[in-house]
């Protein structure tokens, strides 16, 4: 009796070929993208999305061609933070992404939904939806990568939802990944999860280009310039050294960044001389070194 492997094809649907075609289309779409960088955190609430938006903006303001993909299907926030219009435009061969004032090309599931509409999927029944919901989200993510007219990019930043499983899911999906940036805050709880994220990234990516950035490292008063600690945990540079991972920098907390980013406005454009803007620009330089495999040393 023949076994599964003795039979060529699947009788007519050619599912394997269809899946291979999906991969091929994605590879073609991403061919003009020089570097794909995942922005991740094991823990939520560390300001990853806000940082992704501002890093993308800093790159764009430095003359780089940048795309920003909101991979957080159920917690999408990039559309709101970038202020782009919710009008995805059909184009020949795909969907044209809206661009921010600084020139960042944005794609998010939020572009297809009216404000406040949650992500739910059509099905004959929502009963036991837990069995297939994650697969639908992965399919949507695949389509946003493959069917968006990114064009030529220096960087495609992918803002991942929190969780240590997100990077392996992304690596399974993409044909390639240049680097992963792990965002943390100076708290013990965050560092505990970051350690897991680094181990997971190393196991999945084999030769990972990883970097750690410490967000909300301290509060700089915009009036007097005094600095204050927001958290009292271990320093992320020590964590990076412990794991043998490049440390990409500390980003001080500026309430104006939260305020402007939440409103979809350009914080770096409005406050280019703030310590936070300066730190983000330095981060982009170190990130460029990381993806180009030169030595990213944070002072």
């Amino acid at each position: 009796m023949k076994t599964y492997h003795d039979i060529v094809g699947d009788g007519g649907s050619n599912v394997v070929a269809q899946v291979a075609e999906q991969q091929r289309r994605m590879a073609i779409r991403l061919a003009p993208v020089s570097h794909i960088v995942a922005v991740m955190s094991g823990k939520g609430g560390v300001g990853k999305s806000s940082l992704s938006v501002n890093v993308a903006t800093a790159f764009a303001m430095a003359g780089r061609k940048v795309g920003l993909l909101d991979a957080d299907i159920n917690g999408a926030s990039i559309v709101k933070m970038t202020g782009v219009r919710r009008e995805p435009e059909a184009a020949y061969g795909g969907v044209r992404p809206p661009t921010t004032a600084a020139g960042v090309r944005v794609m998010s599931i939020d572009l297809f939904l009216a404000d406040d509409t949650p992500v739910t999927w059509d099905a004959a029944t929502q009963k036991d939806a837990f069995t297939w919901r994650a697969m639908m989200e992965q399919a949507a993510l695949r389509e946003m990568v493959t069917d968006t007219e990114w064009g030529e990019l220096d960087y495609l930043l992918i803002d991942l939802p929190p969780g240590t499983d997100r990077l392996p899911n992304l690596v399974d999906l993409l044909t390639r990944l240049s680097a992963a940036v792990v965002v943390t805050v100076p708290s013990q709880a965050a560092h505990h999860v970051v350690g897991k994220s680094i181990r997971m990234a190393r196991e999945i990516m084999k030769a990972p280009r990883l970097g750690i950035v410490e967000n909300m490292s301290r509060f700089v008063c915009p009036d007097c310039g005094n600095t204050h600690d927001l958290f009292h945990g271990d320093r992320a540079d020590a964590l990076a050294a412990q794991h043998g991972v490049p440390f990409l920098g500390k980003i001080p907390f500026d309430p104006r960044m939260a305020q402007l980013t939440d409103s979809g406005l350009n914080f770096i454009g409005e406050h280019p001389d703030s310590p936070t803007s300066e730190a983000i620009r330095k981060l982009t330089v170190r990130l460029e070194h990381l993806v180009e495999e030169t030595s990213p040393v944070a002072q």
């Binding site: 009796m1 023949k2 599964y4 039979i7 060529v8 094809g9 699947d10 009788g11 007519g12 649907s13 050619n14 599912v15 070929a17 269809q18 899946v19 291979a20 075609e21 999906q22 091929r24 289309r25 073609i28 779409r29 061919a31 003009p32 919710r86 995805p88 435009e89 059909a90 184009a91 020949y92 061969g93 795909g94 969907v95 599931i109 572009l111 297809f112 939904l113 009216a114 509409t117 739910t120 999927w121 059509d122 099905a123 004959a124 029944t125 036991d128 939806a129 069995t131 297939w132 697969m135 639908m136 992965q138 399919a139 949507a140 695949r142 389509e143 946003m144 069917d147 007219e149 064009g151």
Partner: protein
Amino acid sequence: MKFLCVECDEAMRLQSTRGPDEGSMSVLFECPSCGRQIAMLTNSMETQMVRSLGVKIGSGGSTPGRMETIRNSLRGVEGLGAQAHPRNDATPPTEQSDSLEQAEDQQAGGKCPFTGVVNEAFGRQEEVQGFVWTAEAEERLGRIPSFVQGMVRKGIEEYAREIGVTEIDAKVMEAARSRFGM
């Protein structure tokens, strides 16, 4: 998943699909040697899982449309939700989109003989001559899934051009189906 006729030790071939009907798909397979048939019946979870892979059962490998899962499965979708064929824009294709079209044309061969016409219609850039569709033909076209109607229309019009007719009625549609072995 593959199906084997144990008696003949032959792989069974897909004959037809039906549904989803209340979430269930019926997929009919037949042994090419003895003609024995079986039907695979999926429950709603299984149907949804297949849907989430972005593949089509029984399509013979035809290429899904752009953002198909998002357009067709996401509730409350706006923007591209009503557009069956994103390639309606007058903007000239880029080199990359041409490459994507070539990649689609080079996809592994499938059972569906209509796939070739669909792919050709997908890649066509020139305007199709005006044809007159009878009400009955339009009604029949309306019965097929909206996201493939554009492609099917182009294919039938191409066939009509080949045979030198400008009015498309039910007879022409039937002849096109026979021509493509459906």
